[in-house]
Assembly symmetry: C2
Homo-oligomer: 148 residues x 2
DNA sequence: AGTAAATAGTTTGATATCAAATCAAATGGG
DNA sequence: CCCATTTGATTTGATATCAAACTATTTACT
């Protein structure tokens, strides 16, 4: 009975832990960005910039897919990044429906900062986690992800 | 080089996986609630109701802490639940700053539905996950959580 | 007893987000 | 060629969310 209760609570706790870890990660990242003088930007903006580090120019649809946010959300997010001077928007010449987003010089300057923050975050995240535990974690999470 | 690249991608993938799993869980829960005719309610409302299943009456501050949302958010969330007839609000007689939130009969009727949804979700979540894997997962996630 | 400080909850303002509706452009079929 | 359909992005409307400011009440200190 008691052990059954604990078992139930523990299985539910994993989902709660996942939510809480994600919150902590996000909070950490926003705080670190603040420390580097990057304000007014949340993790979603960061995701866009990060995607642009990997590929110099993306369509709005690319971004929407990459960061898994609605197209209309991406419009607002990107427009803010334009206002802050981190990215530009440009229509394709052939197909004028398509808008390309690219980093400005100012936006590109964020790369080392983002990489540093990312490293710090990962170091903290994986502190005291062995290679075996990482592999196990990845393995199980992949299975869970594919359950839905 | 290549293996190093993969290693980096994999460590980052865990965080991405965590986000994606959480999205899937939330989406599943909202969809299931819809199937049971429960609309206009998101997971945060559900968290409040869930907390009230466990304790018949909570203060706004209790709720804020329980679901880890800002007090002002809780005000809006609870007010909506009041409007939908699931909960009531009542001021404490001794200390009139304190507002107690309790389930209505209508709200209490949600219990079997919520439990059924919860069970379905957990069954799916843990499909093909062994007891050992669960324990391992819980163990590692707890460590990660305490790293921040 | 009086007052400053702390507390519980709400109001207000701003923002990220989703989804439907809309607009403009491109595609495909008759 | 014409028009219905599809596509890419934006606009619009609604909502959840955070945080600062605010209101009312309670506590703690002198």
């Amino acid at each position: 009975m008691t052990s059954n209760y604990n078992s139930i609570m523990e299985t539910r706790d994993i989902i709660s832990l996942i939510s809480k870890i994600r919150e902590k990660v996000n909070r950490f990242i926003v705080a670190e960005m603040g420390k580097h003088g990057i304000d007014g930007i949340g993790t979603s903006h960061g995701d866009i910039i990060y995607a642009l580090f990997k590929k110099p120019r993306l369509t709005m649809a690319d971004i929407s897919k990459s960061i898994r946010k609605d197209k209309s959300t991406v419009t607002a997010l990107v427009d803010k990044l334009v206002r802050l001077g981190y990215v530009t928007k440009e229509r394709d010449r052939e197909d004028t429906r398509i808008v390309y987003v690219a980093l400005t010089d100012k936006g590109s300057e964020l790369k080392p900062i983002f990489e540093s923050i990312s490293k710090e975050m990962l170091d903290l995240f994986y502190l005291n986690i062995s290679e075996k535990e990482k592999e196990e974690l990845l393995h199980v999470l992949k299975k869970i992800y594919s359950n839905f």
